[in-house]
């Protein structure tokens, strides 16, 4: 039996990941005991997991969480981009210092174990580590020059995790997730929230605000693909990474206009008519500094997989997450 800890396990991706791990297990692990840690959980929850509530930015929290030496740790907890931009102090404490406390706790535990405890740590980074000007496609050697606090914090966590891994205290890798779309549930404070909203709300018969021009191009993957990336990373042979432990993941590049066309194909003009253009300069300023397209050769060669058409992303949302009408 192997132990899995999901920090940020109450969030959307954490819940998808937990459900998938329960269903599929992990290659090479004979059964999984899954613990989810977060500030809070929705009442529904994922049956068959243990839930722990707490604050990951407390220095002592990490030590308690890892006392039972989980074999695989997913670190998904973060303040989202929009909030990290408006609440500078909170962003740095939760997005950066939490990783530092976690890694220091793991290094301490590694020492206590006489060097035998070296868990796999999978960290969800972001394409926000990149800042413009961009090439048409960002390749695997393009610099990380973030233009948001969120991006800077994620880039710093990648560097910490790489160095603690190089020294053998942990065995980590960082996944630069595309924007996850279509997110189920409610809008959140992420500046990217509308990319999901303009699909999700119309499919649920509700109005959606589009705060940017429809020429905006962006990089997407579904929640199902995100859970797949994380599971794949949990058992990947990290020797194949050759010391570069941050990966640009596969995704799908499309414009907002192309997203809207795919929505029209799936749900007709009636759905499209629910999208209301309402330009928001603050969101546009953040989004205009984000990447638009990638050539993620390393991750594809390492076996990471994502959707190739936005139609598929909408189909995945309808299948996995669209609330079914009461019957």
């Amino acid at each position: 039996m192997s132990r899995v800890l999901i920090i940020g396990g109450g969030g959307m991706v954490g819940q998808k990941l937990a459900a998938r791990l329960l269903h599929d297990g992990l290659p090479g692990h004979n059964g999984l005991e899954i613990t989810l840690f977060d500030m809070g959980f929705s009442p529904a929850g994922v049956a068959g997991t243990t839930q722990i509530i707490g604050n990951i930015s407390e220095p002592s929290t990490s030590a308690k969480l890892i006392a039972e030496r989980p074999d695989v740790i997913f670190h998904l907890a973060a303040i989202v981009s929009g909030e990290a931009e408006t609440n500078f102090e909170k962003g740095w404490q939760i997005n950066m210092m939490s990783m530092w406390h976690l890694l220091e706790a793991l290094r301490h535990e590694h020492g206590l174990s006489g060097g035998s405890y070296t868990p796999r740590v999978v960290f969800t980074s972001s394409i926000a580590v990149f800042g413009g000007p961009f090439p048409d496609k960002i390749n695997d050697e393009f610099l990380s020059a973030p233009q948001t606090s969120y991006g800077a914090q994620k880039a710093i966590c990648e560097l910490m995790l790489s160095d603690f891994s190089r020294k053998g205290f942990v065995d980590g890798l960082s996944l630069r997730l595309p924007t996850i779309c279509v997110r189920p549930g409610k809008p959140n404070l992420a500046a990217s929230s509308f990319f999901s909203g303009i699909i999700r709300e119309p499919l649920n018969g509700q109005q959606a605000i589009l705060p940017v021009p429809d020429t905006v191009r962006h990089w997407h993957a579904s929640p199902r693909a995100a859970a797949g990336f994380l599971c794949h990373a949990a058992t990947l042979d990290t020797a194949l990474l050759k010391g570069r432990r941050a990966l640009n993941l596969p995704g799908l590049s499309c414009t907002v206009a192309e997203q809207i066309e795919a929505l029209r194909g799936a749900a007709g003009q009636k759905a499209v008519d629910l999208i209301v253009a309402k330009p928001d300069p603050a969101i546009m300023a953040i989004v205009s500094g984000w990447p638009r397209d990638f050539d993620p050769k390393r991750a594809i060669d390492l076996g990471f997989k994502a959707e190739t058409r936005f139609d598929e992303i909408i189909e995945t949302y309808i299948k996995d997450d669209l609330p079914k009408p009461a019957t």
Copy 2:
């Protein structure tokens, strides 16, 4: 009168910088009051400066140091690469956490000033932020994927300084210095120490150890060039950086064999005979992960200048630093 604070002002580059600032001043500043901070100072010192002794990794130190609101802050303090590799904890505390405490103190002071205090912060980063495999020449868009703790810590400080600058708390930039050669004085714990040793010791009639093959290629600039970079950065218009506040600086790419040929030209075969090959796998492992050549177009366009031949670097050492025989 402007105030200048040099953190790490007791080190070799800090002393060169202080002497140069005293001699040349800074454009746009009508006189300079210079304060040097370090763990200790050589008895000689730089006349006309104030010296303060302390430990920059103490969280309260930064607040005290900046209480008088220096206009320009040079942050040069660091544990060198070899020591950061062997003393993991000390490296992270001094090389990373000190920058965090300094920036937080400056953000606090910025708030107290009602937003009017936004000092220039010049940070000495390093080409150790890069890790192999490398292109023949590293351009200004090549990723930072360090393979040493020192490199990771420097890369993290760059990201912090950029984000605190983007938010307007400070006005900072990071200079990725080439290896400084020929360093005067004694060997230090840096893995790069021998690059200076094989020139300096023979010019002083002493034996020098060469721990790597003479085919090793590396990237150099003189202490005089380093002081010049720092002074140039102190008054550069940072709007020209367009949000990318870490710069690869100009330098000189040459092999150890070419260094030795230049030594032969300057001091003859007798000097070259003092170099003793004694391979050291630990040093070779670190150095083999370092960059060899750059195309630092941005920094050159911004007016940073360095030597173009290793002969010049030796001439600079002889003129600026070679102890004169007693007469």
